[in-house]
Symmetry: C2
Subunit: 341 residues, 2 copies
């Protein structure tokens, strides 16, 4: 198996305001240590206008991380395409891919937070069409070394060659978060990699991976279990009381995300809301427990066909180290990881 | 006096294609050495669609440089505001300012290349209005920690708080390139710093600095000679023939820039074209010559009130080292530099 991190960097840090940038430095230090401990990748969110100091310029922070790491894959989870000029985004991502020597994993999404659609003054109804047009432009920008023009519904470009090209050939892999069978099949048929959410049970994950695999086969594309990653919350608990307290804290955090995503009329849907609109939706499948309990949960995930997990670690470096020392060794050297190389 | 660099990074490098990113690594190495040699700053261009592999995602590359340097000021010369969503740009720039611990010098411009206006499908006639609206939004984004909305001619934002804030207080300095008296006075009255071009003589520079200084005084703003920087080409020649050859090469490069900036009907004007539309416009005032000749030219610039120079060094590290060793020492420790601290 492989393990990566799912991060939500913040500019502030315990009592140090966002203008210090201490939270970003903490994030960098955390990830440098994760690389040293054997983590494969680190994916970061992109968010705007929350008032919580969440990272907004995700590719900028990943560039900083690129300069402090050597092997860590640098992922976005996800860049929300409707907010960005696709040519500028292609340039920024390619620059990161070059400087990091081909380590970019380009996770993309349509957006789900009402407050962000409102903030950017973009209608949620346009999200799908913007997403599709942006993918077309970005792919073309990365793979075309001659001049082209694009005249679309949302963007126009005339006689351009987009520079620089990325380092990876033909381009950095696209990753998409998908939950329903149609979206999963669509991702598979386009050759995109798949991020499965933290709200699904092992049985559900097994079904989704089967859909992905079947659709790739139907398109004549090879399947590799590392094309699918699953997000999970992690908390290594001292005992039952410690675990319960962590679950309560996690539920509050989940609720805050649900609140900001939902529109005042509660009509705006999203892939997150579809799974997380009740308390406990995350916690039910979170990797919260003692090392033995977590190992059993990882066994179940592996049995379901999951070989690559992105961990959200909220307990700081002590949790990171404990996971790497007490849990990870039994899984990263297993036959599953070797088979996927 | 202070010396900085004016850079035009490219993704490719002598025989190594842009997909290697070697040119960007060369740029980083060059600037790391410049910092060690006592250079104060490094400003980089932003360009798109030339087919020459010029840097497009300038803030991304400056973030990489931030991670390899400690004191070097990180400048843009310039970010072309009409191309960018001003809120995304404010977020990216603030993230760089935080991670670099307050080292961003935010040079901004309206754009001048016909090929870029065409590429982004933006009318040159809109450049001025887009520039002004973007400055308003960026300044507000950086200095407002409560929610606001903006409904303008080009951009709309609803109920946003832009995060993160920058490290510098109240925000990173704006730098603008200006040449005519009206533009210089306008920059001064807004509290912006000034980039003067490589096409002006010492006498012209003296007049321009006087306008800048007078306008700041009129607004009750303190004047410091480090608020003005002057761009100059540098080439330390072995002898007369070497100097002549370098001037010819430079003229070819200048001509290429003029060609790409000019529209097919030759009507689109620009601050560059206004000064550089004849062969030799740059070369006339370039710092090309022996160390003694260059020192005399620097004396003349200093006499004209110029205390801060951005050098374009096209001859590689050998030229950088020679300048730092043979020319710089006599100028950086002078009374002028001390007075400005």
């Amino acid at each position: 198996m492989r393990f990566g991190l799912f991060c939500s960097p913040k500019a502030d840090s315990d009592g140090l305001g966002p203008e210090t940038g201490q939270g970003f430095r903490d994030y960098l230090d955390f990830n440098v240590e994760a690389e040293a401990l054997g983590f494969h990748s680190s994916f970061s969110v992109e968010h705007h206008f929350t008032g919580w100091n969440q990272v907004s310029a995700t590719l900028m922070l990943l560039m900083a991380l690129a300069m402090r790491t050597k092997t860590l894959r640098l992922g976005t989870a996800v860049m929300v395409l409707p907010w960005h000029n696709p040519v500028l985004l292609a340039e920024q991502a390619a620059t990161l891919d070059l400087v990091s020597e081909g380590r970019l994993d380009f996770g993309i999404g349509k957006g789900y937070r009402h407050s962000e659609f409102k903030g950017f003054a973009i209608a949620p109804e346009e999200a799908e069409a913007r997403f599709e047009e942006a993918i077309e432009i970005i792919t073309r920008s990365w793979t075309t070394r001659t001049r082209f023009s694009h005249h679309g519904r949302f963007w126009n470009f005339d006689d351009i060659v987009v520079e620089p090209p990325p380092a990876q050939n033909p381009h950095p892999p696209f990753w998409v978060a998908a939950g329903n069978p149609h979206s999963i099949a669509r991702a598979a048929s386009r050759g995109f990699n798949l991020i499965l959410d933290q709200y699904a049970s092992s049985q559900t994950l097994r079904e989704r991976i089967a859909i992905f695999k079947a659709e790739r086969a139907a398109k004549g594309l090879k399947f590799n279990s590392m094309q699918v990653t699953v997000a999970r919350q992690l908390y290594i608990a001292k005992d039952k009381a410690d675990k319960e307290a962590a679950l309560v804290k996690q539920a509050e955090y989940t609720q805050r995300t649900i609140n900001v995503a939902r529109s005042p009329d509660a009509k705006t849907g999203s892939h997150v809301l579809a799974y997380a609109d009740r308390a406990g939706a995350t916690e039910e499948h979170a990797l919260f427990g003692t090392p033995d309990e977590i190992a059993r949960m990882l066994d179940a995930l592996r049995d379901a066909g999951v070989d690559y997990i992105l961990l959200t670690i909220s307990g700081g470096k002590e949790q990171l180290r404990r996971f790497a020392r007490e849990i990870m060794p039994a899984f990263v050297s297993g036959p599953s990881a070797r088979a996927a190389e």
